[in-house]
Symmetry: C2
Subunit: 220 residues, 2 copies
Amino acid sequence: MIETKEQIKSDNLTERLIEAIVNGEYPAGSKISEPELARVFNVSRGPLREAMMRVESLNLVERIPHVGARVVTLSLGKLAEIYAVREALEGMAANLACKHITDSEIATLEELLNRHQSHIEEVDGASYFYQQGDFDFHYLIIKASKNHQLIALLCDQLYHLIRMYRFQSPRSKSRPEKALYEHFAILNAIKARDPELAEMLMRRHIKSSRLLIENELLEE
Amino acid sequence: MIETKEQIKSDNLTERLIEAIVNGEYPAGSKISEPELARVFNVSRGPLREAMMRVESLNLVERIPHVGARVVTLSLGKLAEIYAVREALEGMAANLACKHITDSEIATLEELLNRHQSHIEEVDGASYFYQQGDFDFHYLIIKASKNHQLIALLCDQLYHLIRMYRFQSPRSKSRPEKALYEHFAILNAIKARDPELAEMLMRRHIKSSRLLIENELLEE
DNA sequence: AACAACCAAATTGTCAACAATCTTGTGTTT
DNA sequence: AAACACAAGATTGTTGACAATTTGGTTGTT
């Protein structure tokens, strides 16, 4: 495993482009120029356009024929809609995880939450790192559901979009302690192999985030 | 509106390619040759590849670098997974539809079901046309949810894949009369603006299809 | 000054040729 | 005869140039 680096420019490009958009290097609403990006990434326009097609189907950019592509504009309304979908899908994931999770996956989750706890106790309020780990928690449960279609939808299709929102609105601190407590409760339900409880707790967990967003929305 | 035809070859191509794959013109598992398709569609390989990228992200084909693309192979297992996801998402759609559907949309749904009833009474057992209309019913309810993310996921992302499965396994007659009866029950719940009932009925409706599939799966 | 028509520059869409990689058939070796 | 190595052919990945369309500014008219 000396040279594992992907040799397909188009594929690498897709990931680099996603990363650049998600972390705000290309701000929301900004135009994306093909010749310029091709120069920046040191590629021809062919592979770049192929990458753009894929990023478009992730709903990270909007393209208008003969006009060009723009990074999608964020809005609290859209975010609330995404969280509503997450509620349904991750609830389902938690339910299925109870039935299909392995002991080793449970152990991984437990270690993860313990690390989070230590981290919160040490650096009280450092919510950035927490959010990263928060993703890991949800990510692992989704994978543990073993439903490939569900995993594809959440981890491939919605993941980057959610990440982009989080990155660009770091206001949602949402009390790490409370979230961590809820995560432990969800994990316990999964360990007890209680699908209904796990689903209910996961839905409530995400719903509380959604309600925060909708409250912000009303204040406008 | 004299010339509404899309002038972007790449965009048209995507739809034509989706249609060709869905209706089995290119059978499951068959290899897709870029030079050949470019000749068939009378296009250069550039736009064709862009269309392929999009079709790939719909999970209709699988691409392996430097080897080529193949139409996805169907399996009852995958289908069951998709139906499980549908259960969660369309249940949510029915719930939201109760809150956001308009009177004119209700009227459209009512007409649709009445036409189905007449059709079933006339040509007893013609399940093919029924299935087309079945899609319309689900499609309309999804749209009525007014959650754009949900609509995108179901109508753009999963729709074609489901259609492909249906097209290639017309065994699932699944008793049109029973399904129609369930559709009426769902519509009534929506008219009564009863989200919990509508969601429950929709989930049960889809679940019965999923169980049929899982039974077939066990017989193998 | 306001507005419409038009032209030029830039950008997107498309193409055909070139380079890199995989597949397949042949021949050799054990 | 089976297995491996190699080479020819075909296919995919990439590039740079050309064609078509939009955009923004200029000019002329009302």
